[in-house]
Every structure is written in structure tokens, then in C-alpha cells.
């Protein structure tokens, strides 16, 4: 997800959208991970899962961890040369993406169908364009 977002950094900036990535861990983990995959994005760390739960995200069930889509996504990432390092956080947490306006209202949200499911950049840009127009 991070490298995918990094690829569209110019388009997001042009659309007036800032991108913030959150994960569990410490600042040094955010610096290591984001520094290599997405140096232009703002990465923030939190020590526990409280923000996830507040946004309606929780741990995946077996079907969300072991689906065909998850295996395909893993193989695709490997083909692109992504080699998982030491995992900091909780790989069982479900991913989610939200677009928040300047008033702090959620204007769009995407809850992954499994742990590998993320919105596309095109989808994010389409929604973003509609709120910044």
C-alpha cells in the first residue's frame, strides 16, 4: 500500500490531498519502513491498536487472512521485489483507508475485504477530486 501511494504522490499533491499512513510501532520503525518505501509520505506511529479500533478496524478472521486474494497479493509483491522484513505491529489487523475533510468529517472510507485489500490510487484520486473541486 505504501509504495502504491508513493507512486501517485504528484497526483495526490496536485489534487490537494495529503497522505498520512498510520501503523503500530515506534517512530524508528516508521522511519525505517516509510523511509525505504514511501519517503514523501507522512508516516505516524502509535504504540497500540486504539486508533484502529476507533476507526472500526479490528483483527482479521481466518478467511480474511488466508484468502486466495491474500495469496495472490503476496505473490505479486514478491514478484515486484518486496521482501518482508521484521514485522512490527500486528499483521492480523485489517487495513482501512479514509478521506477526511478539513472539518474532520469522513467523506469516504474503505474497509478492506481481507488483509491485502486496499483502494486503488485511481479511486482515491477520483474521490479526492470530488471534494477538492
Amino acid at each position: 500500500m505504501l509504495s502504491q501511494l508513493e507512486e501517485a504522490k504528484a497526483e495526490f499533491a496536485a489534487a490537494g490531498l495529503q497522505v498520512v499512513a498510520v501503523a503500530m510501532g515506534q517512530p524508528k520503525h516508521a522511519a525505517q519502513f516509510c523511509g525505504s518505501l514511501a519517503p514523501s509520505l507522512r508516516c505516524l506511529a502509535h504504540e497500540d491498536a486504539a486508533p484502529y479500533y476507533a476507526y472500526g478496524l479490528s483483527q482479521a478472521g481466518m478467511g480474511e487472512l488466508m484468502s486466495l486474494n491474500v495469496m495472490k497479493a503476496g505473490m505479486e509483491a514478491a514478484k515486484q521485489g518486496f521482501v518482508p522484513g521484521q514485522v512490527i505491529g500486528d499483521p492480523r489487523m485489517m487495513p482501512g483507508t479514509f478521506i477526511v475533510d478539513t472539518q474532520g468529517k469522513i467523506v469516504w472510507r474503505y474497509y478492506g475485504k481481507d488483509v491485502s485489500d486496499h483502494p486503488t490510487n485511481a479511486e482515491l484520486l477520483r474521490v479526492g477530486a470530488s471534494i477538492t473541486a
Partner: protein, 46 residues
């Protein structure tokens, strides 16, 4: 994940204080106040 726990469009986004890569505290509200924000929750670092 229960769908009933999911946040609806139009709901207030929960604010949290997190740490940036320098270890400085950052509130989410201070970020979205500057402009529309894509907020993505990763499963993990690494």
C-alpha cells in the same frame, strides 16, 4: 470486524495523538485542518 463498528461517511473522524518519524507528537486533527487527508491504516511496519 463488525460492520456496525465501522464509521459512516459524515461521521467525525476520531482524533489521536501519534508520533512522527522524529518522535514528535502529531494530532490527526492538526493534519486534516491543513487540507483533505487520505488516512490509511497499515497492518504493520516491515
Amino acid at each position: 470486524m463488525s460492520k456496525s463498528d465501522q464509521l459512516a461517511v459524515g461521521a467525525s473522524a476520531p482524533d489521536f495523538t501519534l508520533l512522527d518519524i522524529e518522535g514528535q507528537s502529531v494530532t490527526l486533527a492538526s493534519l486534516w485542518a491543513n487540507g483533505p487527508t487520505i488516512l490509511t491504516f497499515l497492518r504493520h511496519f516491515g
